[in-house]
């Protein structure tokens, strides 16, 4: 049954979610460039080398290991390989979830449905980026905390040492230990508490302490945890980063989460089962974090849903079993094998990756960034023509510029944890034409502006004295600053309008 989950998502993710996996934001190309830089220099990045706005400031990377992992894959198998690798990691996380539920004795059909539902709820944040690695570690840690025999200290240490050096999501691992510690501690104080409750609380405390110690064992030492704490305290960055905002329930993705939340409330309201306090705390913490920040919805799916399934297993088994479906599924699950199927799936994905996503000349998995989302054509031209000068650009294109035009320094990219809130605020003031935007551009001595054609700033620069529309297509417009005294480009509005209309037509067509 875990094999079905693995194969299903290994197949569906790169085929149906390909565009989002690669193009959801500009972060993947940024990570690839970081990985290349680390491989080229033989050391982690310690001083900011990519921007002209913050050159040489201290740099702390929270995801060094996974950046290297993706970069190696990219070198061997291109972007299709990266996408397949990320898909395999995601599929593995949810397959592990299914395996965990079955091992804990959940009815196999309930375990299967929970793992599939968790994937549906959690797919909101499936992007080929380092955080997907944390999905696997979250499930592993949950399984450790939930298993009957408490884990040893070295098992925690091994897990957290690897996790810390792969992705900053280990913070949630520490939190998970804390939730179990508090939950078991409170449970121990209740009447009819299980005799092992206090021992479990102590074991979870041990896990948290090991996590706290392990997070220092990385190339940046104590700077890494300090940096993460700083990042989560920067309210401006969190408020203005889409993935850190509350879910928008008008969109389809968060509606799956809302449905899951309703099912949970419904189940609690109509069943007699009372979850143990560690599980209940985990569920409510998952709800809280997911509602505060939509990137945590996947964490909710990976933790709250499985422990809810464990809690409701008895109630589920009391339901009628029409046509013996549940019993049949359980028999099939017991008789089926997992590893051969996982091996075959992985092998096929590996072959497909090595062929850069192509089967017989047909591109099954995209091996390039979407030219309607990233300024592919204009950047190619600009790089070929060796254009020089400082460039201002759309926020999400910063990472792409790093990847596709390595000689060019950028204004900003998605690494705002390093670049800081002030630079992000300045970028927003410029793109929103807030008072002082001209002074900002002049202050940073910007020569070029690479913008989406249908943006206020592009529209304004087309009318702005001193700025000339160098070229544009349906995705991007490249403006050049000819000097403050130069007259405005009288044909620029018309040319930009043509590019913008093409973009609008494309959007409308895509919408239909």
């Amino acid at each position: 049954m875990p094999a079905i989950v693995f194969l299903f998502w290994l197949l569906v993710t790169p085929l149906l979610l390909a565009n989002r996996m690669l193009n959801a934001d500009g972060d993947l190309p940024r990570h690839l460039r970081h990985g290349e830089t680390i491989l080229a220099t033989g050391d982690v990045i310690r001083l900011e080398p990519f921007t002209y706005t913050r050159p040489g400031i201290e740099f702390v990377g929270m995801e060094v290991g996974s950046q290297l992992l993706y970069t190696w894959v990219h070198r061997v198998a291109g972007l299709a390989g990266v996408e397949l690798a990320a898909s395999a990691i995601i599929a593995a996380a949810f397959a592990l979830l299914a395996a965990f539920l079955i091992r804990r004795g959940t009815d196999p059909l309930l375990g299967f449905l929970t793992a599939m539902a968790a994937a549906m709820v959690g797919m909101l944040h499936w992007v080929a980026r380092p955080h997907v690695v944390s999905y696997v570690f979250i499930v592993l840690l949950l399984a450790m905390l939930e298993r009957e025999r408490p884990p040893k200290w070295w098992q925690y240490a091994l897990l957290f040492l690897i996790w810390t050096n792969l992705h900053g999501g280990w913070v949630f691992g520490g939190l998970l230990c804390g939730i179990y510690m508090v939950g078991w501690f409170l449970e121990a104080r209740l009447p009819h508490a299980p005799p092992y409750a206090m021992a479990r609380a102590r074991n979870a405390l041990l896990g948290g302490l090991v996590a706290a110690a392990a997070c220092f064992v990385n190339p940046y030492g104590a700077k890494l945890p300090a940096h993460i704490v700083y990042h989560f305290k920067e309210r401006f960055l969190l408020d203005n980063t889409n993935e850190f905002r509350s879910p928008d329930f008008h969109m389809i993705g968060p509606k799956f989460f809302l449905a899951a939340l309703l099912v949970l409330l419904f189940a609690f309201a109509i069943t007699r089962e009372r979850p143990r306090l560690p599980r209940l705390l985990l569920i409510v913490a998952g709800v809280y974090f997911a509602l505060i920040s939509q990137r945590n919805i996947t964490v909710f799916a990976l933790t709250a849903l499985p422990v809810a399934a464990l809690s409701f297993d008895a109630a589920w088994r009391r339901l009628p079993d029409p046509r013996g479906l549940r019993a049949g599924f359980a028999r099939a699950s017991a008789a089926a094998s997992t590893w051969p199927w996982v091996g075959v799936g992985t092998l096929l994905a590996l072959v497909l990756a090595l062929r850069h996503g192509r089967v017989g000349g047909v591109e099954v998995v995209p091996d390039r960034f979407d030219p309607q989302i990233f300024p592919v054509a204009l950047v190619e031209q600009a790089r070929a023509e060796r254009l020089e000068g400082r460039i201002f650009h759309e926020f999400t294109w910063g990472g792409y510029l790093l990847y596709a035009w390595p000689e060019q320094k950028i204004f900003i990219d998605g690494g705002t944890d390093v670049l800081g809130p002030d630079l992000m605020r300045t970028h927003m003031e410029i793109t929103r034409l807030q008072p002082g935007w001209r002074e900002h551009l002049a202050g940073w001595q910007v020569d070029w502006a690479l913008l989406a054609p249908r943006t206020p700033l592009a529209s304004q620069l087309a009318h702005e004295p001193g700025w000339r529309l160098d070229r544009c297509d349906r995705t991007a417009a490249l403006f050049h600053h000819d000097g403050a005294t130069a007259a405005s480009d009288s044909l620029a509005p018309q040319r930009l309008g043509v590019c913008a209309d093409t973009a609008r037509t494309d959007t409308a067509r895509a919408g239909r």
Binding site: S246, L262, A269, I270, L291, I292, R432, P435, R454, S459
Partner: protein, 500 residues
């Protein structure tokens, strides 16, 4: 009359009336530009003696058919304004808000919720209601929803005639009757499910009787001056997804806001409560449907959060009561609350009189305990005064929320748009946003509507953009607003996009 201590609902009414009127008076008036718009609509209806049937307020959709689903509340707001000025509007809003809290508390007490827990729950509900405390027609829906819940959750089904009467009043006051229909639907469906589960003749009889209320309520919604046009208009409005995506109050809550955070914590509290305190008597299906349905509504749109406080919260309290009773209590707290379950409603009525007298006194030059004017830091008070001094009629592009204020403060002036989004529709809203955010084509929008003046917040990017256009001059500027006027003969779009 012998002195009797105030009843708990009266105490809640008194407390929240004072908090709302005195502490949040400014919010009631200045929460958005809609209060002023409703006052202008109400005055127009009172002056004409008929509802508005064609748009008299905008130059973007002049004379187009107009349907209102809140004309009754607009008239009442205008009457309060005539009696006691803007202070009267605040007093009316605060009275309705406090009444909704008191009715919710009374419902919980009558259904046997432990008094201290009920009082605390009502206070939490009031905090949720406060997220949408603005002197607007939806406050009538707060009260009517509380009344409907109390009427529905009785062992006997409501008489269809009573439901008909309630919904006739509701449909003529505010379009929030759709939430009443939702609650009614939850009860009808829930009782059907319960009857199907138990199969008892009494349950079937109750379900059938409740079901009869649904057509009675539906018929009532047609009994307005607009007939069938009102529900059809409301349905079209609620289906305009583009509009719902752009209107702030229809957006999902951001859970870092204080009010929304309380909603989140309440959801978590309910999760814990239902997880730990299985209601031994069983949870009636109508309650379950209403709790889940209205909670979903709160997640979908922040303006629905107060409705959670009026429905899901008190219903959940009926079942979470046993869990709360197990918690430790401060000495004698519960007993002193329990002793106050009787008591008189007179102190509440007296408090309402005091607030209204304060409003009238403030209006007539006495001490101003309640706000008597719109906030000059929020609305373009000085700029509209300058606008009134302009010769001729201007085709004014105005900031969205200021549209209502302009209509109220300068009745001769037509606007580009105002917060009556249901009338203007998503097409004009998108045109407005194009200009506001200076997206490509914004100059063309100004040219299409031959705009020759603009009233926008000081410091907004549009000020700088218009100043850079040929022929546009700043006519007035203060710390809140800038009034720009286009010189006669200058193109509306300045250096707009030449035709291809």
């Amino acid at each position: 009359m012998a002195w009797r201590r105030p009843s708990l609902p009266a105490l809640a009414f008194l407390t929240w009336l004072l908090i709302a009127a005195v502490g949040f008076g400014g919010r009631f008036l200045n929460g958005d530009g809609d209060t002023a718009r409703h006052l202008r609509h109400g005055e127009t209806i009172l002056a004409r003696g008929d509802v508005i049937r064609n748009d008299p307020f905008s130059f973007t959709r002049p004379g187009e058919p107009y349907v209102s689903f809140e004309y009754g509340a607009q008239v009442l707001l205008a009457l309060a304004h005539r009696i006691a000025g803007l202070g009267g509007v605040v007093a009316l809003g605060a009275t309705l808000a406090a009444l909704a809290v008191a009715l919710t508390l009374r419902f919980m007490l009558r259904r046997g919720v432990e008094p201290a827990a009920a009082y605390v729950a009502a206070a939490i509900g009031a905090v949720l209601l406060a997220t949408h405390w603005i002197a607007r027609p939806h406050l009538f829906t707060f009260v009517l929803l509380a009344v409907l819940l109390e009427r529905l959750d009785r062992p006997k089904a409501p008489a269809p005639f009573a439901i008909l009467a309630l919904f006739v009043v509701w449909a003529n006051l505010h379009g929030g009757w759709v939430f009443g229909m939702a609650l009614l639907g939850a009860w009808a469906l829930g009782r059907l499910v319960d009857a199907w589960r138990t199969g008892g003749p009494e349950e079937w009889s109750l379900a059938r009787a409740t079901l009869w209320s649904v057509p009675a309520a539906a018929i009532a919604t047609l009994l307005t001056p607009y007939g069938t046009a009102a529900p059809l208009h409301l349905a079209a409005h609620l289906n305009d997804s583009a509009l719902l995506r752009t209107a702030h109050e229809f957006r999902p809550p951001t859970f870092t806001d204080a009010g929304s955070l309380v909603f989140l914590l309440l959801t978590i509290g309910a999760t814990i409560g239902f997880a730990r305190a299985w209601p031994r008597t069983g949870l009636p299906t109508p309650h379950l449907i209403a709790i889940l349905g209205f909670t979903v509504g709160g997640f979908l749109a922040r303006r629905n959060i107060p409705l959670v406080a009026l429905t899901a919260l008190p219903l959940a309290m009926l079942h979470l009561d046993p869990l709360l009773l197990r918690l430790p209590e401060p000495p004698n707290l519960r007993r002193s609350f329990a002793e106050a379950t009787g008591g008189s409603w007179v102190p509440g009525a007296l408090a309402a009189c005091v607030v209204w007298l304060a409003a009238v006194a403030g209006h007539r030059g006495g001490p101003r305990l309640l706000p008597t004017a719109f906030d000059a830091n929020t609305f373009p008070v000085e700029a509209v005064a300058a606008l009134r001094a302009e010769p001729g009629t201007l085709r004014l592009f105005n900031e969205y929320t200021w549209g209502g204020y302009v209509l109220w403060a300068d009745p001769g002036q037509r606007v580009f748009i105002d917060p009556g989004a249901d009338f203007y529709g998503s097409a004009l809203a998108l045109d407005y946003l194009r200009v506001w955010e200076q997206e490509p084509g914004w100059r063309d929008v100004l040219a299409r509507f031959d705009v020759d003046a603009a009233l926008v917040p000081a410091g907004s990017p549009l000020v700088e953009a218009l100043v850079g256009e040929d022929g546009w001059r700043i006519r007035h500027a203060d710390r809140t607003a800038v009034l720009l006027v286009r010189e006669p003969g200058a193109p509306a779009a300045g250096r707009g996009t030449p035709p291809p």
